[in-house]
């Protein structure tokens, strides 16, 4: 968050959007949707060796209602697609998705009858991590990239744009 000025008794001058983004980006609680091998690397990233909690992902939320980031690690098969859609729908706004590994990005090594070729066609994905499996440092880097993306977001601007367009259409 960029401060414009700090005057004497602690006044802060900033944009509302930057305040909102600051609040959202500092504690992205992950939902570890680990299905396959990338799930083990996600576990290593969450454990003490490559601690993800120091970047704000402190409480690993095992329920979609209480999480911010859906970290999809592993192959998604066609049998699992409705389950993924339902879990994504159960998450509360604001929500983001990280697709870990080659299988989540594009089907990976499994170009077969039962594997979904990438989850980008099912749910909107914010960060893709290549690798089979990616190193835990890769998952941490993706989380940092996501934090950067959240900080550069325009949550109110989207609302304002809708209002401006509606007004112009009414003219």
């Amino acid at each position: 968050m960029k401060f414009q000025a700090i005057q004497g008794e602690g006044w802060l001058l900033t944009k509302a959007e930057q305040l909102i983004n600051w609040g959202r980006s500092r504690s992205p609680w992950p939902f570890p949707y680990g299905t396959a091998c990338c799930g083990i690397e996600l576990m290593c990233a969450l454990a003490s060796g490559y601690d993800m909690a120091r970047f704000g992902a402190e409480r690993v939320a095992f329920t979609p209602r209480q999480c911010d980031v859906l970290i999809e690690a592993g192959t998604i098969t066609k049998k699992m697609v409705p389950v993924l859609k339902r879990i994504y729908a159960q998450m509360a706004e604001p929500k983001w998705v990280i697709a870990v590994g080659a299988c989540a990005c594009s089907g990976g090594v499994f170009r077969t009858y039962s594997t979904q070729q990438g989850i980008g066609s099912i749910i909107p994905v914010d960060v893709y991590i290549p690798g089979c499996p990616p190193r835990p440092e890769g998952i941490l880097y993706a989380l940092l990239k996501l934090i950067d993306k959240i900080e550069a977001d325009h949550p109110l601007y989207k609302q304002r744009r809708k209002v401006v367009e509606a007004l112009e259409a009414a003219k």
Partner: protein
């Protein structure tokens, strides 16, 4: 008495063919004597552990053999083709293990495409439960007497049998749609 002789002695007429390759013995039994032959192997020969159960689709082997035969015939005189019944397309293999002597045997049953049914051996070994469901799912072979013959690895509404040789690797574009309409 070696393993081969023991099996030949116990199975008797039920033994259609016995092959050995790299130390693995493969025994073929007829489709209508599956339960009797396996019971004899379990009780008299001592093969009391079912290691695995699976299917094989031999469609490509027969088309390749036909092609090879045709190629060699083209070079020589034109001979009329043999018009016998086609060989059975599917095979179901049972892998048995003897816990006391640590010997293994593969038991093969040929299943023709027009009569895709075998008796279930869940009465002999409960371990055959899910493997038989998987053979049904992947090849379409039904098992009479199975307590719960439904699809195992694919979703229930899936129509085809994926491991058959005429099913393409990348599938036919099926998708699963679930209606979560529980009010």
């Amino acid at each position: 008495m070696s393993l081969k002789e023991r099996i030949e002695g116990i199975l008797g007429r039920d033994l259609l063919e016995l092959t050995e390759f790299r130390g693995d013995i493969c025994v073929e039994i007829p489709k209508n004597r599956v339960i009797q032959a396996l019971t004899m192997l379990k009780e008299e020969a001592g093969f009391d552990f079912l290691s695995d159960l699976f299917g094989i689709d031999n469609l490509d082997l027969y088309t390749k053999a036909k092609k090879k035969k045709k190629k060699s015939e083209d070079d020589e005189a034109q001979e009329p083709e043999e018009k016998g019944p086609p060989p059975p397309r599917f095979e179901v293999i049972y892998l048995l293990l003897s816990l006391s002597t640590n010997e293994r045997v593969m038991v093969k049953v040929r299943v023709p495409e027009d009569d895709l049914e075998l008796p279930s051996i869940t009465g002999l070994w409960r371990a055959a439960n899910w493997p038989e469901r998987e053979v049904f799912d992947m090849f379409g072979v039904r098992f009479k007497g199975h307590p719960n013959l439904r699809r195992l690895l694919m979703w229930d509404e899936f129509q085809d049998h994926p491991l058959r040789k005429d099913y393409p690797l990348e599938g036919k574009g099926e998708e699963r749609h679930l209606n979560y309409d529980i009010a």
